[in-house]
């Protein structure tokens, strides 16, 4: 398999991805014990933030990659093949506001525009455009839940797995935008030139 270089996401998808690789017979022990090292040449693995995986795969710096559908939706302009739904890492992209009367609806009604904080500006922009509502998208890099609690925004668009963080911060889901799982993606040129290796891997993944 080391004929292929695979971009593996650190973060929430890291452990289930390593379990998947274990079942394929890849030696992942070094990845588990050495969390500063990024390039594991013997097993053809590079590790990175999930949102960087499409960048490496599109450029051909990795042949294959594993990342969330949420990342792919946010970076939909990238030229990639999405080969397989790996089924794990399930979470939902939601529109949420503080509990009680919906402040976003009120802002929309009285001020014409609602402010939405998000780490996913393109998904949020596309969603409110598609549902015919005017929204000002405020991009933040972390802890989106803070925005509606401090008056930065009336609502948020964010990814949630269990909803626990939302609840702890007094937020409720108003609408579900999309659901997400881990996906296997491929560089289009690698997909042509390394077809036997990629197809063999797909077959083994499908057989698991």
């Amino acid at each position: 398999m080391s004929e292929l270089r695979i971009a593996v996401p650190r973060g929430a998808l890291f452990t289930p991805t390593l379990e998947l690789l274990d079942r394929l017979g890849v030696a992942t022990l070094e990845l588990r014990v050495n969390d500063r090292k990024l390039l594991f040449e013997d097993v053809g693995i590079v590790t990175m933030r999930p949102s960087d995986v499409p960048t490496y795969v599109e450029a051909g710096a990795a042949d294959l990659g594993i990342t969330g559908k949420d990342v792919l939706l946010e970076q939909s302009e990238r030229d990639l093949y999405e080969l397989l739904d790996l089924g794990y890492g399930h979470c939902t992209m939601v529109f949420a506001t503080v509990a009680g009367e919906d402040p976003a609806a009120e802002a929309l009604r009285r001020l014409g525009v609602m402010r939405i904080a998000t780490k996913y500006p393109r998904i949020a922009t596309g969603y409110f455009l598609g549902t015919g509502r005017q929204a000002e998208i405020v991009e933040v890099k972390g802890s989106v839940e803070l925005a509606p609690l401090t008056g930065l925004a009336e609502g948020i668009v964010d990814l949630t797995a269990s909803g626990a963080t939302l609840r702890e911060n007094g937020l409720v889901v108003r609408e579900e935008i999309a659901s997400s799982t881990a996906r296997l993606i491929a560089n289009p040129v690698s997909h042509k030139l390394k077809a036997p290796a990629i197809d063999a891997l797909l077959e083994r993944l499908n057989a698991l």
């Binding site: 093949y81 999405e82 397989l84 996906r183 040129v189 997909h191 077809a195």
Partner: protein
């Protein structure tokens, strides 16, 4: 204050220009020897010329008004200007006609390495020769040009623009379902494709066909055991392949999934790949309807190489010997 240049454009300085020029000179020699005379057309054309053709997503992006209020476009490729040239300057001329070009085209791409909004193309158009002979000739010129450029490990994906539509026709997939399927395919989203195919409620065998066909790629075995609706396209590809000299045939990867952003292509389509670079270096194919749309119905085939990408692949091969094939393809 520093004067900037528009996003997606850049300056070329002497070291790079020298390498690019040396490469294009070698390619020009190949084109000339094969009988493809070089032409040049204006970078600006009337918008109406492009609007009359089936150019799709990669159509013109930049428009200006002239002093009379006419809408002009910066050409997004050279194929349509040359089709216009044939329909006007060679209205009565005997065919076949062979032209080559080295010219810039303009598209609103997301700027990154190898993705410029102004980019140099090197290509040929062969007008008046049908498949399979015309297609085989152009593939041969393409390989000779890539060899002359100095590329060693390149491969050419060969597909058929009409193939997937033929399958959809045969299975009676129409309207919305068809559009959604083609859109997933154009996005390279096989997970989405599977969802759309399942939603059609076809019998398992037909569903399997829609899912598997676009992922079939590889050697001549790809064309074997193809079901009925694919046989015509497969026979076309086999015919082309059988006309190729071994050194050209050895470069071909059959790719039934080659359907992305095809616009005016009607039959055979091809893309140039190199393991040293993760992005296709060139594209080509048959466009048997385009000249008719501009007033002189003739079959035609051609290709365009992106010179900047070719240069990136070439330096990539030089820098990373691991990409080199230990044995040359047969």
């Amino acid at each position: 204050m520093v004067d900037r240049i528009p996003s997606g454009t850049r300056d070329f300085l002497p070291d790079e220009m020298r390498e690019l020029r040396a490469m294009t000179d070698r390619i020009r020699t190949v084109f000339e020897r094969a009988g493809y005379g070089e032409v040049y057309t204006p970078a600006l054309e009337y918008e109406s010329t492009f609007a009359r053709t089936d150019s799709t997503e990669s159509g013109p992006a930049y428009r200006v008004f002239d002093e009379l209020g006419n809408v002009l476009v910066l050409r997004s490729d050279m194929t349509i200007p040359i089709a216009r040239l044939v329909a006007t300057r060679y209205r009565e001329a005997e065919t076949p006609l062979r032209f080559s070009y080295f010219a810039h085209a303009y598209r609103s791409v997301r700027p990154q390495r190898g993705q410029s909004r102004e980019f140099l193309q090197a290509g040929v158009e062969l007008i008046g020769v049908t498949a399979p002979e015309g297609t085989a000739e152009v593939l041969t010129v393409l390989c000779n040009a890539l060899d002359a450029a100095g590329l060693e490990t390149y491969r050419i994906g060969l597909g058929d623009a009409s193939l997937y539509s033929a399958v959809l026709d045969r299975l009676g997939v129409e309207a919305d379902g068809r559009e959604r399927i083609l859109s997933e395919l154009a996005n390279g989203d096989f997970v989405g494709l599977q969802k759309e195919v399942v939603a059609l409620g076809l019998n398992p065998e037909d569903a399997d066909l829609l899912l598997r066909v676009p992922q079939r790629r590889g050697g001549p075995e790809v064309l074997q055991t193809l079901p009925g609706p694919l046989e015509a396209a497969a026979a076309g590809m086999r015919d082309v392949h059988s006309l190729l000299a071994p050194e050209v045939a050895g470069r071909i990867i059959f790719d039934l999934g080659l359907v992305r952003g095809l616009g005016y292509y009607t039959g055979a389509v091809f893309q140039v790949y190199d393991p040293a670079y993760g992005v296709p270096i060139g594209i080509g194919g048959r466009y048997d309807d385009l000249l008719g749309q501009l007033g002189r119905p003739l079959p035609a085939v051609g290709f365009a190489l992106n010179v900047e990408r070719l240069h990136i692949a070439l330096t990539g091969e030089e820098l990373d010997p691991a990409h080199r094939n230990p044995r040359r393809v047969p």
